[in-house]
Symmetry: C2
Subunit: 195 residues, 2 copies
DNA sequence: ATAATTTTGTACTGTTTGTTACAAAATCGA
DNA sequence: TCGATTTTGTAACAAACAGTACAAAATTAT
């Protein structure tokens, strides 16, 4: 393993996190490589040497956002609280808790809306994120049905799909309006719909 | 009223429709004024003389999309079919019927995701569109409750909020994945949730 | 006809874009 | 200490950007 050469003056993950913030706040097209240099603290030389291009850095930022986010959401869904409380916590997570997210929405959803049709990397991450979430929600709901917390008369996969869609809708509607009362109604209405 | 001068060689609405297509397919930042000239058929002179700036044309396109879209959706909700069928039709509208929309999603949602935090015009239209839709959905659900089609035990506004969120979620998830089976589950699950 | 007015097409403006070139700086193995 | 190797900062790049200037063209009113 080669070891020579001048050592890097930064940690990759900190730079990716900083870049993530920029893409999250401005979107892909609206942010310039200058913005990225300023916010990451790197010069153009370092940035291009380490990441290759604006788009590759974008991909890394999306992947990191996906990984961190999925872990947090699965943690909530794998709680030991009653299933319905876990589901409520999930709905409330990005809205009240995660102050980084609440007014800018979900980076992956934003990315899909801005570039989903033309950027295969975005499409892939969006699908992956969604599929993992759907599976975990379905598992939780099945558990809730077994425990008698959630209606047994409706199909698990249908309940999961409905909940997932409400969740994604909320993550578009709340950042778009910042209407807390509406968000409250959505959350309560969604949970009530599980019986 | 003044009437002199060389007459315009285009109809405003046709140009706005063409511009709408461009913004819809590419997003605001990703499309150039050159793209707009090409797709509308106007030269730069005409375009800037008639619309002032890229952003003003964008606003007009959003407003037009909003008006046309709201009308179509309210038409569905004011049907004479049973309420549940109207709601199903609404959910299915952009997904199966409206071939212009199905793979690129809703322009207003996309605009909100791309520019909602930094563009007051986008924010305003998003809120307006959503509020009109929410009201119409709530009215329809109340009607359904009176007719005994929809559960009377749940609050109308909560049911409406839940439905609205499912609807918006679907309009993000389907274009992002093009997964028909999942869309089917979301639609069926959402309608089943109204009892 | 001609003056007034508006639209149209084209050439042009100064910036900003993403990316590259490259020399100086900092490390390692010899 | 001396190459070898990698990172860093700066300068530069052509292309693309949104917007403007302006003269030619097309109309109406007189």
């Amino acid at each position: 393993m080669s070891k020579s050469g001048r050592p890097r003056e930064f940690k990759d993950t900190t730079v990716i996190d900083a870049a993530m913030e920029v893409f999250w706040s401005q979107g892909y097209e609206a942010c310039s490589t200058d913005d990225l240099c300023k916010e990451t603290g790197l010069g153009r030389g370092s940035l291009y040497n380490a990441f290759g291009s604006k788009h590759e850095l974008y991909e890394q930022a999306l992947i990191r956002y996906h990984q961190v986010g999925i872990e947090a959401q699965l943690d909530i869904l794998h709680n030991d609280a009653p299933v319905k409380e876990r589901l409520r916590e999930l709905l409330e997570w990005e809205i009240w808790k995660n102050s980084a997210a609440k007014d800018r929405g979900c980076l992956i959803i934003n990315a899909s809306a801005e570039r989903g049709k033309s950027d295969p990397a975005v499409e892939k991450i969006f699908k992956q994120h969604l599929a993992l979430l759907e599976q975990a929600i379905e598992d939780a709901i099945r558990e809730g049905q077994s425990a008698g917390e959630i209606s047994r008369e409706r199909e698990t996969s249908e309940l999961a799909a409905m909940f997932l869609s409400c969740y994604y809708g909320l993550r578009v509607i709340y950042p778009g309006t910042m209407n807390r009362a509406l968000a409250r109604r959505i959350i309560d209405g969604t949970l009530a719909a599980m019986l």
